[in-house]
C-alpha cells in the first residue's frame, strides 16, 4: 500500500506561507494508486505496504501543490527526497545532506502558476526499491520555495514505508467437531503494530505460502480461534493461520497442520438415538380447530401472518419455525370434537386481535407491537370478565 503525504513542518526552515497540498496521482498504465495511499488533498496519512511496493514498482507519482497567494515574480522552488529513514537539508537549494538522495527532483524551477504546481517522483525513490527489506521507515519529500529578500521556506511530505511483516501466529491444538474444525492460535505480540488481525486458510490438500491463494480463507478477524464449518466428516483438512498488521501487511503462514472432523451427536441426535419420539415441529392448530384452511378465522390469522410477521426478521423466523414439520397436536385436535372446541376457545382472542390489527391500515413497526400488547391485555381482560359474568 502506498502511503503518501503527511504534511509536517520542516525542522529548520520556516513553513511556506499559504501552502496547499492538492493530492497525488499515479502515472502509468497500472499505477492508479489505491485510496489507501491518501492521494486526495484532504488526506493526512499515507502508507506504502509491501504489496503496494510490489504493485507500483516502476510507476511515477505526480505530486500536486499550490499557494493561496501570489508570490513575487522571481519565486522558484526545488524538491528533494530523502533516503528511507533519512532527511535532507531544507534551508537552501544546493545542500543535500548525507541521508538525502544525491540529486534534486526539481532544481530551482519558477513558480509560474502558483495555484497549481506539479512535479513527478519515481515511486521506487520512496521505497528504496527493495520490497522485501523488512523495515518500517519514513521517506520525506521536501518542497523548498525561494522568494527574493527572504530566507527559503519549506514543507515536508512524509511517506511511511512499511515493509515489515508481522510475526506469524503459533497454532494450537484444534478442536475436531461434527463437520467442523475449530482452529486456535496464540495472539501475536507485536509492539510495532497497534492492530493485528488474522487470516485462516484451509483445504483438503496441503498448501504453502506460495499456493495459499488457491485455498479457502476466512478473515481478517480478531480473536484467537475460528470455527471452520461445512466440512466433511472423516476427511483430513489442512489449515494454517497468518497475521495481518494495521497496514495490511501479511505474515508468512504459521505451520500448516491438519485435523479431521468427526461425527458428534448433538442433543437432538442423542435424544432420537436414545429412543426419543419427539418429531419436532409446530402444530397447525388453527386449521385443525376450525376444520378448514379456508375458514374465515384461519384466513384472518394468515393475513396477520403476512402483514405483521412476514415483514420483519423475527416474525419470518417464527413463521419458518411454525411451518417446519407436520402437526402432531393438530392431528389430535382435528380428530376430537372436544379438543377442537377447546382450541377454538383458546384461539378466539388471537383471532380477535388479528382481526383488529389487520383492519388498521398503516399500522407498522413499534406502533404495531405496542398495539399488539395493548390488545393482548385488553382481550384477555374482556375474555375473563365475560367468563365471570357467564
Amino acid at each position: 500500500m502506498l502511503t503518501v503525504a503527511m504534511l509536517i513542518p520542516s525542522s529548520s526552515a520556516a513553513s511556506i506561507s499559504a501552502f496547499k497540498f492538492l493530492g497525488i496521482d499515479g502515472i502509468g498504465g497500472s499505477c492508479g494508486m489505491s485510496d489507501r495511499i491518501g492521494k486526495v488533498s484532504s488526506s493526512t496519512e499515507h502508507v506504502i505496504n509491501i504489496q503496494d511496493c510490489i504493485d507500483y514498482s516502476g510507476c511515477s507519482l505526480d505530486i500536486k501543490w499550490g499557494l493561496d497567494r501570489t508570490p513575487d515574480a522571481g519565486a522558484s522552488y526545488a524538491v528533494k527526497v530523502s533516503l528511507p529513514g533519512g532527511a535532507c537539508v531544507d534551508t537552501d537549494f544546493t545542500t543535500l545532506g548525507t541521508t538525502c538522495m544525491d540529486s534534486l527532483i526539481v532544481d530551482g524551477k519558477a513558480i509560474s502558476s502558483p495555484n497549481y504546481m506539479v512535479f513527478s517522483i519515481p515511486f521506487d525513490y520512496l521505497t528504496g526499491g527493495d520490497c522485501q527489506a523488512g523495515w518500517n521507515k519514513s521517506t520525506k519529500v521536501y518542497i523548498i520555495v525561494k522568494e527574493s529578500g527572504t530566507e527559503p521556506t519549506a514543507e515536508t511530505l512524509s511517506f511511511e514505508i512499511d515493509l515489515e511483516r508481522p510475526a506469524a501466529p503459533a497454532i494450537e491444538e484444534p478442536e475436531e467437531g461434527d463437520s467442523n474444525i475449530t482452529v486456535k492460535w496464540s495472539p501475536v505480540d507485536d509492539s510495532s503494530d497497534s492492530t493485528i488481525e488474522y487470516l485462516v486458510y484451509w483445504d483438503d490438500s496441503s498448501f504453502s505460502n506460495s499456493t495459499k491463494n488457491n485455498v479457502s480463507v476466512a478473515g481478517p478477524m480478531s480473536g484467537s480461534s475460528y470455527q471452520i464449518t461445512s466440512l466433511d466428516n472423516d476427511t483430513e483438512y489442512f489449515y494454517a493461520v497468518s497475521s495481518v498488521d494495521e497496514n495490511d501487511n501479511e505474515s508468512v503462514l504459521s505451520a500448516v497442520s491438519s485435523a479431521m472432523p468427526i461425527n458428534v451427536s448433538d442433543f437432538w441426535e442423542h435424544y432420537r438415538q436414545s429412543g426419543g419420539t419427539e418429531d419436532g415441529g409446530f402444530c397447525f392448530i388453527a386449521t385443525a380447530a376450525w376444520g378448514s384452511y379456508l375458514a374465515p378465522e384461519v384466513r384472518t390469522l394468515r393475513l396477520f401472518r403476512d402483514t405483521y410477521l412476514m415483514t420483519n426478521a423475527p416474525g419470518r423466523a417464527f413463521v419458518r419455525l411454525y411451518y417446519a414439520t407436520s402437526p402432531a397436536l393438530a392431528d389430535a385436535i382435528s380428530s376430537s370434537p372436544v379438543l377442537r372446541a377447546s382450541a377454538r376457545f383458546v384461539l378466539a382472542p388471537a383471532v380477535l386481535m388479528a382481526r383488529v390489527m389487520t383492519s388498521m391500515p398503516g399500522l407498522t413497526g413499534p406502533l404495531a407491537a405496542a398495539v399488539f400488547l395493548v390488545l393482548l391485555t385488553f382481550v384477555f381482560g374482556v375474555a375473563v370478565r365475560s367468563w365471570r359474568r357467564s
Partner: protein, 249 residues
Amino acid sequence: MNTRLISSILMCAFFAGLVPLSAVAEETGVSSIESPRRFILEARFGTFQPAVDSDFGNATPFEDVFGDGMFLMTQLEFEYEIWNKVGIIAVGITAGYSRMAGSGINPSDGTAATDGTAMNVMPLSAQLVYRFDYLAQRYNVPLVPHVKAGLDYWIWWIEDGVGDVAVVNDGDNPKKGYGGTWGGHVGLGVGFLLDFIAPRMAQTFDVDVGVNNSYIFFEYNWAWINDFGVGDRMNLSSGSFIGGLAFEF
C-alpha cells in the same frame, strides 16, 4: 418556655427535612392519595430442569448432554387487574427464555465431545392470577400470597455444534430439532411488600412513576409441558423455584 423550645425544635427539624410530610401524615392519621392500580409487572428468575429423561426407561439423553444441574429461566410477566376488592384477580401473559448448553456425545464411545450443543426454550403463557393483598392493604401486613394457573405454549429449538438448528436424518424425512409444545402450569408463592420497609420511598415511587406497590416474591411453579399427554412430544415439564420483583402500577 417548654412550648417554645419544642416548637423551635420541630421547626428546625421540619426545614431540615428530618420530618417528612408523609411521616407527619401517617402520624396524624391522614393517608396519602394512591394512584389507581391496574397492572402488575414481574421480573422472574427461576430454576429450570426439564423432565425430558422421564420419558425414557434407562436412557438419560438430557442428563448425558446437559448434566443434572438446574438451569436459569428468565421471564417477564405482565398482568391486568380485572377485580380488586378482597385481593386481586388478574389476567397475565408471560414470556421467558432459558438456554441449556452442553457437550455433544461421541457416538463411538459415548464420551463428551469438544463440539457443543444447546437447547433453547422460550415459554409463552397466559394465566389467571389471584393475589390476596387484603391484609396488606387493610392492616399493613406485608405478605401477599398468590396463586396462578394458566395455559402454556413453549417454543424450543436445539442447536448443533455450529449453532444451527439440529437435524436428524430419518430416511428421506429430515427432522429438525425445533417445535412448540402445549401445556399448563400452576404456581404458588408469596410476595413481601417492600413498601413496608421504606414507606416514604414507596410513596415517592408512586407519585413519580405511578408504582403503587413493589414486591420481592418467591414462588414454586409446576409446569406440565407435554401437549397434555397427546402425541409423543418431548417432555419439558419442570418444577421451578422462582424469585423476582413485582411492581403494581
